[in-house]
Amino acid sequence: MDQKGYRRGSFQSATSDEDMLEIAGASMEFSMADDDPPLDRERGGFSSYNGGGMNGTSTMTDFLEEPLPGVGTYEDFNTIDWVREKSRDRDRHREITNRSKESTWALLHSVSDAFSGWLLMLLIGLLAGSLAGLIDISAHWMTDLKEGVCLAGFWFNHEHCCWKSNTTFTDRDKCPEWKSWSQLILGHGEGAFAYILNYLMYVIWALMFSLLAVLLVKGFAPYACGSGIPERLPGQVDAGHQNHHPGAGRVLGAEPRQGGAPGPRGLLLWEHPVPPLHQVPQERGQAQGGAWGLQPGEVLSAAAAAGVSVAFGAPIGGVLFSLEEVSYYFPLKTLWRSFFAALVAAFTLRSINPFGNSRLVLFYVEFHMPWHLLELVPFILLGIFGGLWGAFFIRSNIAWCRRRKMTRLGKYPVLEVFVVTAITAILAFPNEYTRMSTSELISELFNDCGILDSSKLCEYVNDFNSTKGDDLPDRAAGPGVYTAMWQLALALIMKVFITIFTFGMKVPSGLFIPSMAVGAIAGRLLGVAVEQLAFYHHDWAIFSGWCSQGADCITPGLYAMVGAAACLGGVTRMTVSLVVIMFELTGGLEYIVPLMAAAMTSKWVADAIGREGIYDAHIRLNGYPFLEAKEEFSHKTRAMDVMRPRKNDPPLTVITQDSMTVEDVETIVTSTTYSGYPVVVSRTSQRLVGFVLRRDLIISIENARKKQDGIVSTSVICFTDYCPPLPPSSPSVLKLRSILDLSPFTVTDETPMEIVVDIFRKLGLRQCLVTHNGKLLGIITKKDVLKHIAQMANQDPDSILFN
């Protein structure tokens, strides 16, 4: 089944699941072909270009004339050119400041421009906070919907349904207003038939939810699938992400998914603030020459910080996460703005108060039990487990995703989602620890058992005569604990294997909660084991010093926390941000050292097995051009070895500064697919003038043909200030000075590649020109650099895709 044939077939027939839905939907302002450019007042500016010839002296205002809509924006899957963005931003800002002296309106405009950045951050924070509140409440409700419904009001989840009524101490879940499905349908909740009915309803609801999610994703927002993180890391701009539909799709699709193995945490990290606000400022900014005053990179970082802040209740951790994982290029201004966005998001979520207790996250715990130095040994063991699991997970998930990508398996995404959900639901129901939502599971595992708890995990053998209140000594495990242990072990095995298949499906799904769950289960198991060991053998040398009988020395909840941190670190390879998020989650400053120990150990172990974290691995799998800042380039090649054209290639495609016609340029543009062209003085002397982007060229020429008088195919295009005089009968000259970048980066051909790679990384360049004795010799793009690195590392250089 060859690719082309398949594609045509899928357009016309409805063979597989891929029925093409004819969608005429809500329109979205899109940068490509604007049939209604809001440029009425700028059109006057263009007519001034028509002087042609000697009269075409450019003035300051010509240069700073509002650019066309679409000039300077990006196409799908092009990387952001950070340097260009920064310089353009500075130019715009300077222009506004200069103009501010002219009139009060301009002054106000400049003031608003200065504040617009902060305003945008405010909006991002508000949006993140409110969407987080929406997701929390809705996701909880839908999770509980699988088990039953509230008679007092269908919009209540289980906990809120039983809020008002008196529940018993041992059975905190039962109250008259909440009816499970079997109770509703059959009238009673006991017996084999009721169990089967509950089971069936659970599976049916789970299937319905995931079907809803995948349909929304497929129908409206295909880019909303996955966690979105690998697409964001290289700083890529997706026009598809740049409408809010992926955001909405992710938000709406996240709730249904909560029942299955993945959770919606990952989505909170990115999606909704970034797409609409990212696109809106860029678009409006270019079209109207002054807007939010922010670069896409800043918006990305701020949105990431705000997302983590509400997902984990960790504002500082969010900022650090954004610094560590997201930003390619992170000036201090971004740090401050991200901090602000995270703060606003946290406030907003707090005001919505989704959990009814003024906490931001479901598993906020407060421990203050001290830990002993000897406990570092089990913590390091947990770190090793986290590293091993992380490496195992990455390998298997990549293998599965590769298989999905290459073979027929990938052709049936809806069916795949359906089958995986069905299997997950069927396996999850019997074990109560997999039946409950993952966040609740983590919360229960982190919880330290006191006398007020009556869950199975806390069924220790109690001594009623002691009146110590909450400070209970280590006790022998009762039968409930043993049951809980083996159920948790089964849950662990199931989660370890199922997450491999669910991460990467065509629904919004993240990785944070599942890996924290795996770690928490492992940690709790180890913690209870150590606790029982200390209780039964308190006279051993290692325990006798600090853990005498009757003392409360081991806290299994802490082990669960450390385990969660270790597993998350093993998978994502985060270090500082992980520790900060974890201790913000728990409020336990005493636990920084165990968390750091576990995070470092897991990172070392995982790095020893496989170099890449999960996101880097997915980036490589998809061939995104991400130049990692973490690796050193240590080969002795030079720029001339990497540049294009190589020895046997056709010569470099260049545009001359004032001797090519519109037709020539159009031919070049249509016959090649390069994203930019160098401009030289003339073909004989290949001295460099500047660099012009393909997109800008296309848009300017089209616009000129439509709007300017006298521009025909034989019009000469002139990129300089002073165009050569032409005989009066010739058509008027098209001046494209404004789209030319006069300061492209150049290196000489003898520059070592180490320096070139460094330049690309540090400045975030997309391409760099190579000169020899002042003459243009070739070009190096980011893709070439990546291919070269891959070649040097003996990887497959053809796996790097895109522009």
């Binding site: 029925d19 509140g133 109207q288 007020l452 209140g469 909450d470």
Partner: protein, 198 residues
């Protein structure tokens, strides 16, 4: 505050999914919790008392204000005689909690209506739209399209821009076609070429 607001609203009149609209929607979400007065349904004091001697554990709920939220006010009837009350109350833990039922109701209803609307819309598009819409000659070129996105932009740009009149309906049509094209492209990228995290 900013000069582009009027333009944004003008353009948003033809965009159904504008972020500004989304923000307004969220504003409505935020308003109810801000304005809702505390009905008696929404506060409670929850006291959890563990098993004590031969008395089993119990949970007490009462809606009292925060200053009255302690064992003496909430635990009624007191299961232990007078001299034991203090010891018993030391074991009990009382917490004051409040929630907003209005927020929950509003959020769930908003969520359900949005999802419902999207599903209805999708059903409409799948079932009804192909019947009422004649096969558009514009969409044919899409079927024969090759992989390159650049020729795509060159080809559709001029044809699309030149042909449309400026009435609102036609503008909406144009925008719809663009969106359709966009989603189709995305779908191709994700589902056919598996370029996105699969």
């Amino acid at each position: 505050l900013f000069p582009q607001a009027p333009r944004m609203f003008a353009q948003s009149s033809q965009n159904c999914g504008n972020p500004v609209l989304l923000l307004l929607l969220l504003g409505c979400v935020l308003c109810p919790p801000a304005q809702a007065s505390k009905s008696s349904e929404d506060i409670r004091c929850k006291c959890i008392c563990p098993p004590y001697r031969n008395i089993s554990g119990h949970i007490y709920n009462k809606n009292v204000s925060q200053k009255d939220c302690n064992c003496l006010h909430v635990v009624e009837p007191m299961p232990v005689p007078g001299n034991d009350v203090e010891a018993y109350c030391l074991l009990c833990e009382c917490k004051y909690e409040e929630r907003s039922t209005t927020t929950i109701k509003v959020i769930i209803i908003i969520y359900l209506s949005v999802v419902g609307a999207l599903l209805l819309y999708m059903a409409f598009l799948v079932l009804v739209d192909p019947l009422i819409r004649k096969p558009d000659p514009y969409t044919q070129p899409l079927h024969n399209e090759e992989d390159s996105e650049d020729t795509h932009s060159l080809a559709t740009g001029p044809t699309l821009a030149g042909a449309r009149a400026n009435t609102v309906l036609e503008r909406v049509e144009g925008a719809q076609q663009r969106w359709k094209r966009q989603v189709q492209e995305q779908r191709k990228t994700v589902f056919d070429r598996h370029k996105m995290l699969s």
